[in-house]
Symmetry: D2
Subunit: 261 residues, 4 copies
């Protein structure tokens, strides 16, 4: 059975030093466990609840930091792109570092963004919209394939379930694997959208439960936002996994993955 891979890192790039430090810490763990690792961080949080929230260093500076982390660790990186022009610009700025361009969940039906990202030739990871049925993600995959790029994965991150709550329907994992490799995002699946008076809250206590369930149901990879100090994280700290909890969680998930084959 192929190995589970891991996309992990801070929600947003905070400082260059922090990105390197956190990336190194995660890479040490994944290297110990033999897990292929992709460093994840956003250069811009484009849909924060408030106009005044921290958004990150921006595309140019962010891609420079990402490329630096990727080179230093010798791992690919993954980052969000938000419109067609950004997809091209981010890909160019990332240069010769291996990188995955990620389509945010709210934007998973934006044709121009999917096409432009696909046309960079980079691998594309599409997050499933909270408002999309699993079987409709085949259309998103098809938009990428029709643009000449077959390196595409899908990520489950929960479906709208009433207001300010998401539910992970484990049936979506095998359904979407009919179209592409599937990643489970343990971080955003425990988000409670804007339930917290202007910033989204979270239930990080359920990250291990959902990740264990998803791995047993069957996925190809995992996505986790990890922070060494969630309480001080500049974005989405409410649902980040503490760095100290990463290794034991991954060990458990590898054991389940092995048992569930």
């Amino acid at each position: 059975a192929p190995k589970l891979f891991l996309l992990a890192g801070p929600c947003v790039l905070e400082t260059e030093a922090h990105a390197h430090k956190l990336g190194e810490a995660i890479a040490r763990i994944t290297s110990d466990l033999g897990i292929p690792y992709v460093f994840k961080a956003s250069y811009d949080k484009a849909n924060r609840t408030s106009i005044r929230s921290f958004r990150g260093p921006g595309l140019a500076e962010g891609c420079r930091i990402l490329a630096g982390v990727g080179k230093a660790l010798g791992v690919p990186v993954v980052t969000d792109v938000h419109d067609a022009e950004q997809a091209k610009a981010a890909s160019d700025a990332l240069g010769d570092v291996e990188a995955i361009l990620q389509i945010p969940a709210f934007l998973c039906r934006q044709t121009d963004l999917l096409m432009a990202a696909a046309q960079t030739g980079r691998a594309i990871n599409i997050k499933k919209g909270q408002f999309v049925a699993p079987w409709d993600m085949k259309h998103a995959v098809q938009k990428v394939v029709d643009s000449g790029n077959t390196r595409v994965s899908l990520t489950e991150r929960g479906a709208s379930f009433g207001y300010s709550n998401l539910v992970v329907d484990m049936r979506s994992l095998p359904q979407m694997r009919e179209y592409a490799p599937v990643i489970f995002d343990g971080t955003h699946s425990v988000q409670t959208p804007s339930a917290n008076n202007g910033t989204s809250g979270g239930q990080p206590e359920f990250i291990p439960v959902l990740a264990r369930a998803a791995v047993a149901a069957g996925v190809d990879g995992l996505f986790l936002e990890v922070h060494d100090n969630p309480a001080e994280a500049k974005s989405d700290g409410a649902n980040a996994l503490h760095l100290n909890h990463l290794k034991p969680l991954l060990e458990k998930l590898l054991a389940i993955h092995e048992a569930a084959r």
Copy 2:
């Protein structure tokens, strides 16, 4: 009590002649009924299910047609914008015609788009995301206001209710009216997202029911996609209201609006 206003027209601009013909037909009806009218059409359907679906004439040609219809009818126009750059470009292209820039539901949390649209000084209509609680739309309004523009309205178009179905929660109407004038979109509220094998289906038989209910609950305006031949419409024909049904529906809605004051 202020009058109900109406945003109506084809889903997408098909031909210039068709836009004028349909706009004139609707304007005649609204003029008879004393309803303030805004001509609605999209120049680009940016999130069609398939890459091969008809998308429209594009920004430049589309805004030229929209401006022409607005001038010919002497009414404002409303059209979707999909990223920050488009907001500015569309506003420029619309020139001296009075126009509302509309933020699509999937994009209602994209900060840059909201700010750029706001900064044109045009009136802004934000559709509520299918994944957003009504009380969270105050944050979208705030992003526009914080960008120096207080002419903002919100539109209800249904919330995710399981897969491939939307439900209109009538409680959302008074809730959102605490933040801005509220429009009820009777067309997209009866959409059944991608339930129809690659194109979204619809239940146009419920447009009058939901519109009557929304007007009785209390709204400021209505949004309806209208077509003289829904079966041949180039986009979203499955949930368009037939032009022949518009006048009797509006008459009923005006009576309910009057009764519900």
Copy 3:
């Protein structure tokens, strides 16, 4: 157009004097407005959140009080029945007073209860389960009809929408009217099930909004739990309508009903 009728009264029978007093107050209002009135009260709240909550006077004493109120006011009464044996016993205890037997929402699929209630020959009002699609209520109606009783109505009281919240899908009203007359329950539709730490909460501020919407969408009757002192009500005070608000609400609803014909 036929008149809207009203089922209204306290959630649970508190004291005999209170039932008479409240029933008289409501009957005076409905008589002024020409609305056919049915006195509503439960003799037993069979699914309270806690075993220690007040449940009511029980079947025998409750039906005696109900019959007394019905006779005093000259109106029919309506009350819940919870199992097959109770249906027969309650019907017998109500004697020659005209009465509707009501099937609670959680029990709307219990075949024996529906059949036993039907076999009393009384009119039957079935509340739609929070977990049932509108089109599936035809099966509940059919169970009554197949038991030899065609006097059956259906009541909309909201559908599960995530946890601890209900949403009223106005499409359900015309859908269910294909099978039977439809009543809108403005009280339980604004319940927030057990959101309040062991007793269900409510949003009575939305009763008028939802009732206006439902009447405009089209219903045959209304169901409202009314109390002269909701804060002291022995059950469901959190979503009861204050008696003082009943007359202005009904006046508005009659106007909308007339306009929406």
Copy 4:
């Protein structure tokens, strides 16, 4: 770690011979795997969609068959009870066979039923209503405990997710384990309520996926309706697990349970 236990058998008792044959086949498998086994079958399907559907042999004959199977196999049995009187009658009829009384999901808030079942002194298994938040099941547990019986378990079987669909929220498993041991029902979780024109349909292809996920998330036991010929089953054949698939599934689940400890 304690062993996973299994409640399994046909949805409804069809014939005495069939019950024995199926029970023996399952007991052989669980005995091979060292899994504690409880024979499951209903004597009456009390909420079939249609009045004309097969309901089973009834309480007296059904409990006689159940007791016979329990004795022949030397295992406990579990069966549904639908009202307070039935709880007592079924318990009496089951005699000295060890038995669990099960509260159906729709009835999980019926106080009298919970109390009467509790007062038999039998172990009680309460299915979580499709309309109930996991944290509200503590009130159902409390009703049993307050009736003097602490042998109570809870079963997850999916939550309403739009119409005619259920979703299993894996967060509910650890949440409910705070109150009682938790069983995962892999059969009813894949039900599509009445989506199939008058009989509920199902997605048995998802039973293994959801069962694997639930075991990895953490449960105490499993509930599975098993049939040697699902196409001919007299109830719920659409979501039954074929007997041939039981052993390989249980082997996988045991491995995951071991890995997830």
